[in-house]
Amino acid sequence: MHRFVEKVELERQALRVVNSSLGSPQLHGLSEIAIFAWEAADRSARGAVAKKLLRLSALMLSLCERSGGRLEAEYAVAQDEVTAALAELSSFVAQLTEAAAQNTPRPGR
């Protein structure tokens, strides 16, 4: 059951990355359908992030499938993949935010 908490923490981290940087409407969850709903609000601006989120979502699903008491090693590999995808998402969103800040006209210019 502790793996539910682990899943929640991973979802929370991903949502924090997105919702802290990319404004509203919020991303409400990491289910495929929640990601599609979030992307639909601004497809051109959110498409690339949505792709990374969908990959993370698929990896998390795979992680959950491996949490049924099967091989610990297999679970650990899936866990590493999720962590790497989360880091990739985080860095991608940071780059986007930085690029957007540089393109924003500054007052008085």
Binding site: M1, H2, F4, V5, V8, E11, R12, L15, R16, N19, S20, Q26, L27, H28, G29, S31, E32, I33, A34, I35, F36, A37, L61, E65, G68, R70
Partner: protein, 213 residues
């Protein structure tokens, strides 16, 4: 060979506009999840037998609510297994859910950027705690999503409207449910989040008194 069951709101009649279909697939072998829609629950026979032998809440839910739809003949594994072992894990499960709730409430208090996600978790925690505590504190199992309102002696601190809002938040997180956010309801829920947590702790207290754990 597989067996298909429906359970949840489809068999209890507890249906509303946002209800989904809870489908259970019982398979012969493990590792078949990828052959079915991701929203379905796929369990190998051995796992169902294990849950039944341990008397888990899910085993009781299936025993009491699941209806076999395929194959159309025969009583199926769940019918064959009959009544699960007594459900004795309520206190541990509630304690665990309380920690999930505490974390969500702390996130909300800290100004989480993902309020809908966190409030949706509070729905999940309150509902599941209500279900887990029901056999001891109400005297029977309940698997209704409105289970918190079945407690007449430990009154749930939210109105039905507020609770429905929490449920909508959970559906938005898990099923992409579209909804219009309501800032006044959200402010009220933020203010009452600790009350919900206290209610969860009271249920835990009630269950541990009953079981002497």
């Amino acid at each position: 060979m597989i067996e298909l069951y429906v359970f949840g709101s489809l068999t209890s009649g507890d249906v509303d506009l946002g209800s989904d279909a809870d489908i259970l697939v019982v398979t012969d072998s493990s590792d078949e999840q990828h052959n079915f829609p991701t929203t379905w629950s796929v369990y190998p026979q051995a796992r169902i037998r294990d849950l039944h032998a341990r008397g888990t809440l899910f085993a009781w839910h299936l025993f009491l609510d699941a209806v076999k739809v395929y194959p159309r003949t025969g009583i199926g594994l769940i019918g064959t297994l009959g009544e699960p072992a007594p459900y004795t894990q309520a206190a541990d499960e509630i304690a665990y859910l309380v920690t999930v709730g505490e974390r969500a409430v702390a996130e909300i208090a800290g100004g989480s950027p993902s309020l809908v996600y966190e409030t949706g978790l509070i729905y999940l925690v309150a509902r599941d705690i209500a279900m887990a505590g029901a056999p001891q504190l109400i005297g029977h199992f309940t698997f209704s999503r409105n289970a918190p309102f079945d407690y007449e002696e430990i009154l749930f601190p939210l109105t039905r409207e507020e609770y429905n809002y929490l449920m909508t938040c959970r559906r938005a997180a898990t099923r992409g449910f579209a909804f219009v956010r309501d800032s006044s309801t959200e402010m009220s829920l933020v203010a009452k989040a600790h009350d919900v947590l206290r209610w969860c702790v009271c249920i835990y207290g009630g269950v541990t008194q009953c079981t002497g754990s």
